[in-house]
Amino acid sequence: MESNKNTAVISVIGKDRVGIIAGVATLLSQNDINIKDISQTILDGIFTMIMMVDLKDNVIENSDIVEKLNALGEELGVTITIQHTDLFDRMHRI
């Protein structure tokens, strides 16, 4: 996946069920967050979805998107995390 200054990774992990992608995508569209890339697999028997999204205006810290994703995660029975891409670049690249 591509990474740059203004992107974040949304990861969704949990038990597979109907409507996970739809739920997350709807929430993001309601909050004007553009999805650039999606990948989805079943890893070790666990549903795993990773999305790359565009960030505008430091949306992670300046809005309640984290709280909204947490609430949606609870509703769908999955764990949803949003993290700025810089974190992964720093941790996994020299």
Binding site: M1, E2, I13, L43, T48, I50, E61
Partner: protein
Amino acid sequence: MITDYEILETMKMFKEQHLDIRTITMGISLMDCAASSVDECCDKIYDKIVRYAHDLVATGEAISKKYGVPIIHKRISVTPIAIVAAACNTSDYTPFAKTLDKAAKACGVNFVGGFSALVQKGYTNSDMKLINSIPEALASTDFVCSSINLASTRTGINMDAVGDMGRIIKKTAELTADRDALGCAKLVVFANAPEDNPFMAGAFLGPGEPECVINVGISGPGVVKHALESVRGADLGTVAETIKKAAFKITRVGELVAREASERLHVPFGIIDLSLAPTPAVGDSVARLLEEFGLEECGTWGTTAALAMLNDAVKKGGIMASSYVGGLSGAFIPVSEDEGMIAAAASGGLRLEKLEAMTCVCSVGLDMIAIPGDTTAETISGIIADEMALGTFNNKTTAVRLIPVPGKGVGERVEFGGLLGYAPIMEVNKASCADFINRGGRIPAPIHSMRN
């Protein structure tokens, strides 16, 4: 290109393996707060701390949200108060501790370190006043931490101060007896104290440090343990390599957070302290990590060797990840703050003598250890003297944070709550060392201090 595997690995580190940034600590110099009047000095201290640190907590929380990285503590360290207050006409330094406490509360941080003195070679009048004020200062404040440097490889060991601190620790315990001697959990004595340590209770801003600086302490014993679980049965070279890789990743998170905090607060970045700092939570234990090497219980034979290797590999991995590594940097082995240590101490397998051996190769020392309330001041000084000798003669930092719990004896338990945890009271050798301690004077610096 970041792979899905890397993203998931990262997420698991935070969600399942308790990786966190343990503390963002802002160091603030109080050198310019000196005044002859106590009130004036206290006002200057309060104003300066609040002026510099009022955005610290909010900034930490914003960074935490942006990266999804838990940042547990935001803290402040200051110039040793024995230096700042030296010009004041008073013998009681408690008002300075109360001022620090008030400033910490105004900024929303949960600890402020620096009710400190550096007396490795001898006392100034001000050092003496500060040390005598410690029991009252810690009993009458919530967030103030005190540290005293008693020895260094360059100077040897100030045994007069070692003797005094045994009595001060006892008195601090008595004044906070209603809270299981909680005051002693906020008091630590050092050999070779680092001047840029972000971790409490030993944080202070040394005289050689800048006006204001951001130091970050990271943690993650759970991440290293998890990594070792994937190489069970492999030879120790593989184990070292695995630890280094995990330490590298952990340290990079710390560096990212430190640099961003420094930029947002317009304060220079000082150092990353790449320590494995445990908490009482299951899965966040250094003892369990040592057991992953192949030990039935932490404290058995092989523990010191495993800890030596762990400490070294953590540093080697971390040093590659950041050019500015400082503070204590290594594995912490506090008893009450580590679920596995508590279990090993409670079963009797981990004894004070073994912990002392372990401090020869870890980054700190005898930390958060509850001992019987009837332990004499001289015996406490004797324990401190041994630990100071290990640090001084091996050219490393060592520390002692003992809690003699009034009214309690071996086998009983003491509860501090939160990150300070709980601990079984450990047995102490009762044979007297009083005549040794009462000799006083200085233990001369070791021969290898002569490096010029």
